[in-house]
Amino acid sequence: MKTHDAASTLPLKEKSVSKKVFQSNWFWGYIMIAPTMIGLLIFYLWPIVQTIYFSFTTWGAFGNFSWVGFDNFNKLFHDPTTLGAFRNTLVFTVCTVPIGIFLSILVAVLLNNRIKGLTVYRTLFFLPVVTMPAAIAMVWRWLYNGDYGLINQVLAAFHIKGPDWTTDPHIALISVIIVAIWSGIGYNMVIFLSGLQGIPATYYEAAMIDGAGPITRFFKVTLPLLSPVIFFVSIMSLIGALQVFDLILMMIGSTNNAIESSETLVYLFYHDAFVLNEKGYGAAIAVILLIFILIVTAIQMKLQKKWVHYD
């Protein structure tokens, strides 16, 4: 409570205890953050506690449940569907995060130059971020349509038979990954842009005087100074990728033959908890995912000391 010191330096002689409390900085500090804190407690922390509790229960219709101990977790680790979903989630994450970050940096660096129509380009890249994921999924479903989609029509013009993008079990997940990367570039780009603009020009001038070319400057100046931003983006996009759901539901769906090879943990959670009404089993899936995300994020926090430069 460092802020307390400021309050205690005030003259205290004839003040009552309640007056002291009301005039102290820490009290008003708590009042100011109270709306957010209360929201966080009610809408985030309490549901997490409940989910962990529910993962040890089994549910009947309309909210009747009973305690079953570790049954859900036992079933979960022996269920090929869950293991498949876990594998799909990993593939999705490993593909979208590095490629997404790489492309976002590339776009950000290119758009950090003074080129004609800069705002137009920046807006274009940012548009997917302000579009509803459901709308994105529907538009891409049309593009991907096996017989009548634009992509396969264009391919047909070159006499190439395009694949069934969203219904072929071998390709469906890749199709979703492409959309996920495309729709994520804009958001990351904006964060990288602000990072790039925070790098003082003097570093570049010094590097140029030392004879560094554009590529050397990028690797020796830009990347190290951008590393705190890269670290932030990688943590956020990793968590986002492990929780992917809407694109799978909207683009693939339960009647699709490719769903087994593209369903993710959160999709499975939705299907078990809300379609089959196995809310206890769904909660167990969510708990496993929570633990996994905690571990991965902890590892990232540890590793950052090796590559993130704070100046």
Partner: protein, 423 residues
């Protein structure tokens, strides 16, 4: 101390205003009060007719306004939302119920019993087909007022039949006739398929299973019928069309629904429920190119019948107003509005002719003719579970990944486990 006083006054004012607003919503009993009823449905095609009914009702009862909320049925969204709302206490005041979900909602006290409506004659069960009244009666108590019913018929594209010089389907067709016609109308080079064989139970394989003397679920609702050879033949009826190339593949029908392929002239025949008539009549392409007849005969004639009911949430804040609107929804006037707009076949006895006449260019009488051999949609207490099994397992047979009989045996096993787990 000024600050403290200010804060206390602010808190008191806040609590006071809060208390006032909650007490005003609490007193709901008076019938002169202006109320808005929420009415949950899933079919956007039926919204205009129901809006008309709601407006008529509002004119007679100026204090009651009805707001219609549409949740599309795709991927089970309507039922997912409804169940979550039931748990969270935010159900619409009135909503649609269907056969597969009826027992689950009735047995858990989610729906309001309608005995007093029957007693004071504002709803008379004799006005509706008895099979539908039975469907919504649980422990001798009526929980829903039948709204409409639907059967399945064979729709065909006259232009594609003319192009292939094949005579149109007739009411005397058998399985052999439709198989033969599907082959002759199929035109690979033009991308025309004879028939659509989507993975549909109510519109599709349930009909052919019962036409072949098979069954989906035993009469006592305890065992699956999917391991019977007759049932498996009913499934093969469909997969054969895909395998021989007379129907689009399962993948194609995932990208584009069977109905949209029929509506764009890529498919010559499709089994469709009576609720699709209005969509085909409004579609630019199908409105004057298609017609329908009864389903072809297998070992015997059979067709799925199912009907929706309007129900009231047991926890509605406005029970009197909701009952009033429910009785109006079940009235002859409301049935005629729905019939004339051609949306669905109303359940109110004697109003069906108006529906048949709603789109005279089609032989809609076929749907009514099938009533005599109609079979209620199979269901149990937790139908959603084994409907999901059907999709998960049978889609592999539809795509040709595993043989039909193997998929059916697998399905019978899983479905039996699910039925055993029902309490």
């Amino acid at each position: 101390m000024k600050k403290l006083a200010f804060i206390l006054v602010a808190i008191a004012l806040f609590a006071f205003s809060f208390g006032c607003s909650s007490s005003s919503t609490g007193s709901s009993a008076s019938s002169n009060q202006k109320v808005t009823l929420r009415y949950g449905i899933w079919d956007k095609n039926q919204k205009p007719a129901l809006l008309t009914i709601a407006d008529d009702f509002h004119k007679k009862n100026p204090n009651i306004t009805v707001k219609i909320e549409v949740t599309p049925p795709a991927d089970n969204a309507y039922w997912t939302k409804l169940e979550t709302a039931a748990q969270g206490g935010s159900l619409p005041d009135l909503f649609w119920m269907n056969g597969p979900n009826s027992i689950k909602y009735e047995s858990n006290g989610i729906l309001m019993p309608l005995d007093d409506l029957v007693k004071n004659k504002s709803v008379d069960p004799k006005n509706y087909p008895s099979s539908l009244v039975d469907l919504y009666t649980y422990n001798k108590t009526l929980y829903g007022v039948p709204k409409d019913f639907d059967t399945i018929a064979l729709w065909y594209n006259k232009k594609l039949f003319d192009d292939a010089k094949v005579p149109y389907p007739t009411s005397s067709w058998t399985w052999a006739d439709i198989q033969n016609a599907a082959q002759r109308v199929t035109n690979k080079s033009k991308g025309i398929y004879g028939i659509a064989a989507p993975l549909y139970n109510q519109e599709g394989f349930y009909n052919t299973i019962y036409q072949n003397d098979g069954s989906v679920i035993s009469a006592d609702g305890k065992t699956s019928g999917y391991d019977q050879p007759a049932t498996i033949e009913g499934l093969k009826f469909w997969t054969d069309f895909i395998q021989k190339g007379y129907s689009p593949t399962q993948a194609q029908m995932t990208d584009n629904t069977a109905e949209s392929l029929f509506e764009s002239g890529k498919v010559a025949m499709i089994y469709s429920g009576s609720w699709m008539a209005i969509e085909y009549a409004q579609n630019e392409y199908t409105k004057d190119k298609v017609d329908l007849t009864v389903l072809p005969e297998g070992k015997k004639r059979a067709v799925m019948i199912h009907g929706l009911a309007n129900v009231i949430s047991a926890k509605t804040k406005y029970p009197e107003q909701a009952k009033k609107f429910l009785a109006y929804l079940g009235s002859k006037d409301a049935a005629l509005v729905q019939a004339k707009t051609g949306t669905v076949i109303p359940a109110f006895n004697g109003t069906q002719q108006a529906w048949v006449d709603s789109n005279k260019q089609y032989n809609l009488q076929s749907y009514i003719d099938e009533l005599q051999y109609s079979i209620p949609l199979p269901h149990s207490k937790d139908t959603a579970k084994w409907w999901d099994d059907e999709t998960t397992i049978l889609k592999k047979a539809w795509s040709g990944d595993i043989p039909v009989d193997q998929a059916a045996q697998q399905l019978a096993k899983v479905m039996n486990q699910d039925l055993a787990a029902e309490k």
